[in-house]
Symmetry: C2
């Protein structure tokens, strides 16, 4: 392809700014149009998650663009879940039996700033803010924008348009409303919404809870989580039903009721959240949705990438990592299909969609695991066993969580199929008494492998995949 | 509820006219607005399937409204699939091992006419044609219509609006675009489309192929099917990819190529389809889509029913049956929740949605079974075994197909879970040599039941449902 081609990117969030950087490195002429003001100049954190989980798939993308070290400086390692019960007792459940495998808490703003700065170092990359995309004419490869400062509208032409404009993508809406091709599309909301709260640092700037963990207060039908920030604070998120259960977002309308709820369910969190009521009534309640669609591209003209193509719920900590992996996959396809954009887009969707569908489903599984299963004895036994297997046989066993989070060289779909079969194998072997926690681990590993293989084989024979 | 309440129904297709009849029987004031002209006066068959499969769930609804006998007169029994191979050889695969279980071919137009006539016998039911619903204000419980004859628009007010306006529902679109509540929604297209063709009667008005079967020409990636009509003709449907494979809808553009395709793949069909080319180039190619959404209702004001709530692909022959079953379920809920419409709608969706989700998924499974699996030896062995089990143990065994089609007293979801587990059990037992076709059937039944139970139990332990 002619490197002097003009690529228009809609959205300068995490995915869009990384894509701009990478395409800039490859020598394309890149213009990025972002709806929001420049986050390096204006504080626009409100309403979006403040910190995120960053792990190996995301890091693979940082290596690709040469930013691994700079990003590492922004990371706070979280080695496992710190689980808080109703009485304030805690226990830690590691993410892996291998010491070198952990996830990280990272600030969305800091990371986005880094990516924007690096992208703008390329003179062939230009980023424009306060320009909201209203619609895309995917047949003409043009996009209509509104300039928020001047209140005027203008049309931009390009050789290729890539939309990284998030879950509410304007281009995806144009695909849907255009009715020019068969567009499969789904938006699925959970019954639960979320609200961000905070645990502020001590007066000395120290953390009020253990720094290197993802804290969870699982309560079956709802939960509270907390991730550390570099300034000593934690960003806390309450996941709760809109209208079911004794306490829900629709009935938590008074200070008395909110305090009563936290006193009863999260007493240890409440003691370090003196600012709870301010946060609770100032911050919005937001929905949790999954978006899938297909096709992502229209001919060789336009392509959806990141959340615009596959928005997922946050429970596997993979939203940003999946979008970063999009850019890595796209970059690989660019190496192999140099003939034309339509082939590139087709090949990219073919290799990528099965994996983003899988992480969407895994993220919903993990919602149920985090809010409930982590409290159940059989799931705790399974996790203990898996930690032991990973520690004892680091090259031979990886749990579903490890396959998804720490094995960036296999796709999400493969991780899901193998991981689910393993989970089923272990839960059934434990229940049937075929294996137990104090058995010889070598024997357990063998049984788990055999049973996992048998499950995958049975599914294949039955035509399930 | 006050029976003098005004219920507005959008759409007088199969579901809408049955609902109007039933609510008329219950004494409500019912007004039905239909976009199309009155099909009793104008021929409007083009573009919609001409005949349909009618089976026990649909018949349960006919019993409810007292029309079982009148509908029976419109039915052509189909006892099984007549499978045609590439050389024109045929073999029949029955739908059940019980002689009294079969499905029926029925004319959409004849059945709709009957339901409209019966509904209009009630003076509290009024049906208006050529009135297209443009949108619904679900907060005010009003609908905006366009009169196709006068080209004027008008608004209708009602106590309750029920939309039975099909897969492209205007009310569902108002739910989606209104953004007044979290509306989960999906439309998923298959890679395949369909085109209707025909086998005309002989000069004497006789059938040119065996009358009492659903004919299938399965070819792996595509297929042809044919259902009989009362006039001696068959309606034939070609299911084919839009753009994949050697032959597809996008490249079948010349008469030579269409003839070549039929000559190669469906030679025996071609000999009785002298009118093939006229049909092929006159009739439209239509997409195959699945629609799911939730919630179906807005408060106690409005409700989606039939295809507007859950459009499915046609491969299980359950689309009409599912919509008729909607009316039966709704009628039952009306008996039990007399207090208010919101409770009725909530209870109806709660009991019904899991079942319509299940039949949507089953219908897609059956697409793959019909076009391909029916040709595979292991699937044929499974069917033979199931026929033998149903014949020998009519009260103890029902295949997935029987559970879905002939067991109207269990829901689709239960039928799916049990049926899939049974399929998996039989396929694995056959593959592993634990059971064989010539084994003692009593022993086989026992093995199948045990293995099915084990599969369901393992899934439950693993948290799968």
């Amino acid at each position: 392809m002619n490197k002097q081609q003009n690529i228009l990117i809609i959205g300068a969030g995490l995915c869009g700014s990384l894509l701009a950087l990478r395409l800039g490195q490859r020598g394309y002429n890149v213009s990025v149009y972002e709806m929001r003001p420049d986050l390096r100049k204006v504080d626009i954190s409100a309403g979006r998650s403040i910190n995120l989980a960053f792990s190996d798939r995301g890091n693979k993308a940082m290596k690709l663009v040469g930013l691994e070290d700079k990003v590492k400086a922004l990371c706070i390692p979280m080695n496992g879940r710190m689980i808080h019960d109703e009485h304030g007792n805690t226990f830690q459940s590691n993410y892996s039996g291998r010491d070198y495998e952990y996830i990280n808490s990272i600030s969305r703003g800091d990371l986005n700033t880094l990516l924007l700065n690096e992208a703008e170092k390329h003179e062939n990359v230009n980023i424009y803010f306060n320009k909201k995309c209203k619609s895309v004419d995917f047949e003409k490869t043009t996009a209509l924008f509104e300039d928020y400062s001047t209140k005027t509208q203008f049309i931009e032409d390009a050789d290729v348009i890539i939309a990284t404009d998030g879950a509410g993508s304007a281009m995806r809406k144009s695909y849907y409303l255009g009715k020019k091709f068969l567009f499969s599309f789904s938006q699925e909301y959970l019954t639960h919404g979320y609200k961000e709260l905070s645990i502020l640092p001590t007066e000395n700037g120290d953390y009020k809870a253990y720094k290197n963990a993802l804290h969870i207060w699982p309560r079956g039908d709802f939960m509270l989580i907390a991730l550390p920030n570099l300034d000593g604070s934690f960003t806390v998120t309450l996941f709760l039903s809109y209208d079911e259960g004794e306490y829900n977002f629709n009935n938590l309308k008074t200070e008395v009721k909110v305090l009563e709820f936290f006193q009863k369910e999260f007493p240890d969190a409440l003691t370090i959240m003196p600012n709870l009521l301010d946060d609770f009534f100032e911050n919005p309640t937001s929905p949790l949705g999954t978006v899938k669609c297909s096709p992502w591209h229209y001919k060789g003209n336009t392509l959806l990438m990141g959340d615009s193509a596959h928005a997922i719920v946050p429970f596997y900590g993979q939203g940003m990592n999946a979008s970063f992996e999009d850019v890595v996959e796209f970059d690989t396809v660019l190496d192999y299909h140099k003939n034309d954009w339509e082939s590139v887009f087709k090949a990219y969707e073919k290799t990528r969609k099965k994996d983003t569908d899988a992480i969407a489903d895994l993220a919903i599984d993990n919602f149920h695991e985090m809010k409930g299963h982590v409290n159940q004895e059989i799931f705790q036994e399974k996790r203990k066993l898996e930690m032991a297997l990973e520690k004892e046989f680091p090259d031979e066993y990886s749990s579903k969580y490890s396959l998804v989070t720490f094995n960036e060289n296999i796709g999400y779909r493969e991780a899901m199929l193998k991981g689910r079969a393993q989970d089923k194998a272990i839960l059934n072997l434990l229940t049937d008494g075929v294996i137990a926690l104090d058995d010889d681990l070598k024997h357990t590993l063998q049984k788990v492998k055999q049973e996992t293989e048998a499950i995958l084989e049975d599914d294949e024979i039955a035509g399930l995949k």
